[in-house]
């Protein structure tokens, strides 16, 4: 892990990059990285996330600033701006059942080609997908997802980059931290090595490339 200034971290992200962004309706989203993406005006982004929060919050700020080309998410119902841009065909939105989305990301991080899930069988979600029978039950083959960068909101990071998360701010964060080429973390608090007991580390330091302290 390397400590990095916020502006320098965001400068690593090229226009057109694919980003996995942790958070659920903005809770657990690395808000300062979002603000800096908007300030630097990084365009044509592909966002993989549970949702696009709401206007003015979290990923919603990237949508407001029209920096997003494609969204892969389970829910955009609480962000009318995302829906408007989708209806006007200015962005593409792939809607994925939430349990399938997290498993596709987990597959990407865990070296799997995908997972078999019963969710979506017999619905529009199965269109274009392989259906596989196992022990008489139907499953859809849902393929792995990866991204160029994972933007992670953690609670604690020690000086090495071992991470813990807080309450419902965990959500997609620990899974996404494994599924991108580079992992950029904001931590609410940076603490000395040893402060986080080994049993409590959720994301091990070797997975973390950069940490920005929120201060």
């Amino acid at each position: 892990m390397k400590p990095i200034r916020l502006a320098d971290a965001v400068e690593l992200i090229p226009e057109g990059a694919s980003l996995m962004i942790g958070g659920f309706m903005g809770v657990g989203t690395p808000e300062r990285v979002i603000d800096e993406l908007v300030r630097q005006g990084k365009r044509e982004l592909t966002i993989i996330a549970n949702d696009t929060a709401m206007p003015g919050r979290g990923i919603g700020k990237l949508i407001d600033a029209e920096l997003v080309r494609k969204v892969v998410a389970s829910h955009i119902g609480l962000n009318p701006v995302t829906q408007k841009q989708m209806i006007e065909q200015r962005i593409t939105v792939d809607l994925v059942p939430q349990g399938t989305l997290i498993e596709r990301i987990r597959s990407g991080g865990f070296g799997l080609g995908g997972v078999l899930t019963p969710t979506g069988v017999g619905t529009v979600v199965e269109e274009g997908k392989q259906k596989i029978e196992v022990d008489g039950r139907s499953y859809l083959l849902e393929t792995a997802l990866r991204a160029d960068f994972a933007l992670i909101g953690a609670f604690l990071s020690d000086y090495l980059g071992n991470l813990t998360y807080a309450l419902t701010a965990q959500n997609f964060n620990p899974v996404m931290a494994m599924a991108a080429d580079k992992t950029i973390v904001t931590a609410e608090h940076v603490v000395p090595v040893g402060f986080i007991p080994p049993d409590h580390v959720v994301t091990p330091a070797p997975l973390v490339d950069y940490v920005i302290a929120n201060g």
Binding site: F24, G28, I76, L78, Q98, I102, T123, L167, V175
Partner: protein, 198 residues
């Protein structure tokens, strides 16, 4: 028992748990033991429900990531889910996640919940703008190929034994004829249809 409540009418279920039953409520964003909305001044921004609103956590609560949360749901560990509905057909198939061309919010966790929970209950208005919502066949995209177990409306309780809709209870003061007039689906009517006990 572990119960997941959807947004809207289903949220109200938490207010009517009988004494003597231990219920843990799950929020699919990663919480078991969801408590009421905090008093002002006690909001913890990192503790929210599945709509992103601040909640509290009850004694014995635990939090986890989304892979665990949906493992609980898909894996059959959730005893019951109560969800809203747009349409239900006479076999119990549910449509509750989109109206093509009008409302495309995304399915969120609904498809996983209907496919995975042990018991699926739909809590909804019996009709929408006077039109039946319990139909011969859903015109809207389905949420799952798995039928729901029970529909509870302000008029009736309907179950789906053997894949066919059957009236179980009627709301106080509502007649079987009124229910039939507000229902398009073929509805089996037993000899005795008791009133709901409220």
């Amino acid at each position: 028992m572990l119960v997941n409540l959807g947004i809207g009418i289903p949220t109200l279920v938490a207010n009517y748990v009988p004494d003597g039953i231990r219920v843990f409520f799950q929020s699919e964003n990663g919480l078991i033991g969801t408590g009421p909305v905090p008093e002002e001044g006690l909001i913890q921004p990192l503790l929210s429900d599945a709509a992103g609103r601040p909640v509290t956590a009850l004694p014995g609560a635990c939090t986890f990531d989304s892979a665990m949360s949906f493992g609980l749901i898909r894996g059959g560990h959730v005893d019951m889910t109560v969800l809203g509905g747009l349409q239900v057909d006479q076999q119990g198939l549910l449509a509750n996640w989109m109206i093509p061309g009008k409302m495309v919010p995304g399915m969120g966790g609904a498809m996983d919940l209907v496919s995975g929970a042990k018991r699926v209950v739909v809590a909804m208005q019996h009709t929408a703008k006077g039109q039946p919502k319990i139909l011969k066949a859903c015109s809207l995209p389905l949420t799952s190929a798995r039928p729901v177990d029970l529909v509870v409306s302000e008029m009736a309780v309907i179950a789906f034994p053997d894949g066919r809709a059957a009236l179980v209870e009627r709301a106080p003061g509502v007649t079987v004829e009124q229910i039939l007039a507000s229902t398009e689906a073929a509805l089996a009517i037993p000899d005795n249809v008791p009133e709901m006990k409220l």
